[in-house]
């Protein structure tokens, strides 16, 4: 299932986003040096990392939702689920397959970023890999959210909307925690929401890496566990919901 999902994403031309990334990197590498003084290296790194995050998130959300919703709408999973393949395995295979696609995608983008830095005689610091790893963990969690909603929702549109909402809320969870300062929201509710929502800020170490600040190994372990446990809970819930769903 995972291998076939990877094959599907490749044949559906998901990796074509790399072309846009390559163009973006080439332009930023060639032009930014002339536009800014000393800051150009940081800007190239920022653009490269932000592009990985944006392109990866778009793939994780929209392809992730489509992987299950599309199969339900087109009924292509009917003959598969009649075979010795559980619904939980089906979801896990989709998760692993898209996770691998994103790994390949972000890996190729990383190669592109390092090449741009090297070719334009800028510092290709290997610490960038830490920021890229953080981005990848966020994408893995995004895929889990997309699969969770696509297992619940009756249409891919609904699943996409819910996924985008939760990912956005998770990316700006600090705002929710600080709501109590500007609204009448009870502090416990704001705190509970903050803790329950996926906190994508945990994975965002881009700025620290670009500015040369250290990221502790313990922090990397913590965010890895956070991504894995949160994704695991979501996939478990998705599996339970999907098992009880009638495929009419």
């Amino acid at each position: 299932m995972a291998a076939n999902t990877y094959r599907e994403t490749v044949r559906e031309r998901v990796l074509y986003n790399l072309v846009f990334f390559a163009i973006l990197m080439t332009l930023s590498g060639l032009l930014l040096g002339q536009l800014s003084i000393r800051q150009d290296e940081k800007i190239v790194k920022d653009i490269g990392l932000a592009s990985m995050d944006v392109f990866g998130s778009l793939i994780a959300i929209f392809i992730g939702v489509g992987l299950v919703s599309k199969e339900i709408e087109r009924r292509s999973l009917y003959p598969l689920l009649a075979k010795p393949l559980g619904r939980g395995e089906f979801l896990l295979g989709k998760f692993a397959g898209l996770g691998f696609t994103l790994l390949v995608n972000i890996g190729l983008m990383a190669v592109g970023l390092f090449l741009t830095l090297l070719v334009t005689h800028r510092s290709a610091d290997l610490h960038l890999l830490i920021a890229i790893y953080g981005i990848y963990l966020g994408l893995v969690l995004t895929v889990a959210i997309a699969l969770f909603f696509s297992a619940l929702a009756s249409s891919s549109l609904l699943a996409s909307v819910w996924t985008v909402c939760l990912v956005m809320a998770g990316r700006y969870s600090e705002v929710i925690r600080n709501m109590r300062q500007v609204t009448e929201v009870p502090p416990w509710l704001a705190q509970a929401l903050y803790l329950a929502l996926p906190n994508f800020r945990n994975f965002d170490v881009k700025d620290r890496v670009v500015y040369g600040q250290a990221v502790a190994g313990a922090e990397l372990v913590t965010i890895t566990l956070y991504a894995l446990i949160y994704s695991g809970v979501l996939l478990g819930a998705a599996s339970l919901a999907f098992r009880s769903r009638d495929l009419t």
């Binding site: 076939n4 087109r74 292509s76 003959p79 689920l81 009649a82 075979k83 009419t248």
Partner: protein, 324 residues
């Protein structure tokens, strides 16, 4: 109903309803207390008009839809267990397969799900593609396939694991006459190998040709189940007599007559045949043929649905449903 060793499929008191209407307030029953048993090695036809619950039954058996109540087992195992799934094949209604794959790749993928080795997958896929007439397009992506070709690949994937029981939901749907003939031949070949075939259809001549037994479903309720000869012989047998010339003014009561050019077609209950023949002979008419009228499954089906066989009402209300 406990499954017997000889039964391939056992369904007991199966009930399913769907929610419908505004805020899902209405409950629409789709299956009502269905009891059914299919023996191993049978070709079993599951018949009924559109919306009678055929596909829902198959979906429940395949684990795609959950029954509200009742039990079912396949090859002696309850549906909840998954061990039997490696021993069955399933073709859904209006199938759709990964269109970015070629038929060869799709069958290979299906073979992987069954844990077949690479060489077995390759050999089996080649044989099946040949059997369904797709070996010439083994490397063409499925997105370029017509409906009939997709149906053929659906039949091939259902047979990839050499199943003991094959579930086919409207297998003739979308097929041209050659394709239908091919499916009929495949079903007959499977029967010869001792496989059990459970197929739903509303194309009655196919069922009549292929099935050992049939079940008739209407509104989610089982109307009739049995062997075709049992079902069709339950009505009082009629005989058709074809005559020409002579005087037919004094025929016995209960004889229906119909002019066909210069000839007359006379229909009478078998018990009154001798009296009719005497009257025809006495009138000086020439007897051209005498043959029993065999009720077709379609006639029986229409009768059960409350529609006159071959009448305008049938054409207007229900007969169109019998055509694919």
């Amino acid at each position: 109903m406990a499954p017997s060793p000889a039964s391939a499929i056992t369904i007991s008191n199966l009930t399913k309803s769907y929610k419908a209407g505004f805020l899902n307030c209405q409950v629409r029953p789709v299956l009502v207390g269905l009891d059914l048993e299919v023996q191993r090695g049978e070709v079993f036809g599951y018949l009924g008009p559109n919306g009678s619950g055929k596909t829902t039954t198959l979906k429940i058996l395949m684990g795609l839809v959950h029954a509200d109540s009742g039990t079912a087992s396949v090859l002696g195992s309850p549906l909840e267990k998954r061990d039997w799934r490696a021993r069955i094949g399933y073709l859904p209604e209006h199938p759709y397969f990964y269109d970015y794959l070629t038929p060869g790749e799709y069958l290979d993928y299906v073979g992987r799900l069954f844990g077949l080795h690479a060489s077995a997958r390759r050999d089996r896929a080649r044989d099946l593609l040949q059997r369904v007439g797709l070996s010439g397009v083994a490397d063409v992506p499925l997105r370029r396939f017509s409906k009939g070709m997709t149906q053929r690949i659906g039949i091939a994937q259902a047979l990839m694991n050499d199943p003991e029981v094959v579930f086919l939901d409207e297998p003739m749907s979308g097929l041209d006459p050659i394709g239908r003939r091919m499916v009929r031949d495949i079903i007959l070949a499977l029967k010869k190998q001792g496989k059990t075939i459970f197929f739903s259809t509303h194309i009655l001549p196919d069922a009549e040709t292929l099935c050992d037994r049939v079940a008739l479903l209407r509104g989610g309720r089982l109307l009739k189940v049995g062997r075709l000869d049992e079902i069709l012989s339950q009505e009082a047998p009629q005989v058709e007599v074809l005559v020409s010339g002579g005087c037919l003014d004094e025929l016995p009561a209960g004889v229906q007559r119909q002019a066909i050019g210069e000839r007359w077609r006379l229909e009478v209950a078998e018990a009154g045949l001798a009296q009719l023949l005497n009257a025809v002979t006495a009138g000086g008419a020439r007897i051209l043929s005498v043959q029993p009228i065999r009720q077709s499954l379609e006639d029986y089906f229409l009768e059960q649905m409350g529609l006159p066989p071959g009448g305008e009402g049938a054409r207007g209300q229900g007969r169109w449903e019998l055509q694919d």
